[in-house]
C-alpha cells in the first residue's frame, strides 16, 4: 500500500512538472483535428495555441443555456470557453486545473472571448474537486482522466459534484492490448 501511494504521488508530480514545463500547447494543427472552423472561431488564438486535448467533448455534451458546466483539467480554456458560449450568461462555466498558471491562461482567454462574466477558473485536483455536492449539471474533460493515478477516485469526485440526472462527457484515449514496457513505463508517456 505504501509503495502504491508513493507511486501515485510520483505520477502526480511527474504529470504536474511536465505540464508546468511546456511553453505552449499542441497548437492549431492538433486543434484542427478536433474542432471545425466555426468552433475555432469561438475562441481566441491563445486558447487554440494551448489546446492539448484529444477530442471535442463540447460537441457531444448537449449543452444548453442556463446549465452549470465543469471542465475537469481545463488547461488554456479552449473547451471551457466553448462550453461558456453554449450555457450563456444564464449558466456558468467552471474550469478546474491543478496548475495556477493554466488557470491564469484560462482567465486571460475567457476575457478575450468576452465570456468572463459567467466563467471562472479554479485551481484544484480532479481527485478532490473544490465544489459542493450536486452543484454541476454537466462535467466535461478532454484527455485528462488518463493523467490521474487515481482514476476511480476522480470519477467518484465528478459523480459527487454532479446533480442527480447530471451528465459526464469526456474525450480520452483508450489502449487495447499492451504497450511495450519501454513506452508504458516512460514518465512522459504518463504525462502524455
Amino acid at each position: 500500500m505504501a509503495r502504491d501511494l508513493m507511486f501515485q504521488q510520483e505520477i502526480k508530480e511527474t504529470v504536474q512538472q511536465a505540464y508546468a514545463a511546456i511553453a505552449t500547447g499542441a497548437g492549431e494543427t492538433v486543434a484542427r483535428r478536433h474542432y471545425n472552423d466555426q468552433e475555432l472561431a469561438e475562441v481566441p488564438p491563445g486558447a487554440v495555441d494551448w489546446a492539448l486535448g484529444v477530442g471535442n467533448p463540447v460537441r457531444y455534451a448537449r449543452l444548453e443555456p442556463g446549465l452549470v458546466v465543469l471542465d475537469v483539467g481545463s488547461g488554456g480554456g479552449i473547451d471551457t470557453i466553448m462550453a461558456a458560449r453554449r450555457v450563456g450568461p444564464q449558466g456558468r462555466a467552471i474550469g478546474l486545473d491543478v496548475l495556477e498558471e493554466m488557470c491564469e491562461r484560462g482567465r486571460t482567454h475567457a476575457a478575450q472571448a468576452g465570456v468572463e462574466g459567467w466563467t471562472e477558473f479554479r485551481r484544484g485536483e480532479m481527485e478532490d474537486i473544490p465544489l459542493p455536492d450536486a452543484s454541476v449539471d454537466v462535467a466535461i474533460s478532454n484527455g485528462v482522466l488518463n493523467l490521474s493515478a487515481r482514476k476511480s477516485r476522480a470519477l467518484a469526485e465528478i459523480f459527487r459534484v454532479l446533480a442527480p440526472g447530471g451528465r459526464i462527457c469526456m474525450a480520452d484515449l483508450t489502449v487495447e492490448g499492451d504497450l511495450p514496457p519501454e513506452v508504458a513505463n516512460d514518465q512522459s508517456a504518463w504525462a502524455g
Binding site: 469526456m170 511495450p180 512522459s188
Partner: protein, 69 residues
Amino acid sequence: MAERVFAGKLHRAGFADVWVGGHRPFGIDQAALYPLFTPEVIQVMRETIPADRQDHVASGVIVKARRPQ
C-alpha cells in the same frame, strides 16, 4: 486504459447509461504533435511498437454517462 476498464470504472462510480463512441485512431505521428511526449519517448515508440500498429497505438473516444436521479 482499455475501453472496457474505463466503462467499468464509470459503472463502479455509480454512473448509468455509459456510452463510448466517436472512435478515432491515435498514432505515433499524432502523439509527436503534443509537447508532453518527449522526442525520446516518441523515438522509443517508433523503435518498439510494431510498424503495423504505429498509426493506431490508441483510440480517441468520447465517453458519456449520467448520474441517476
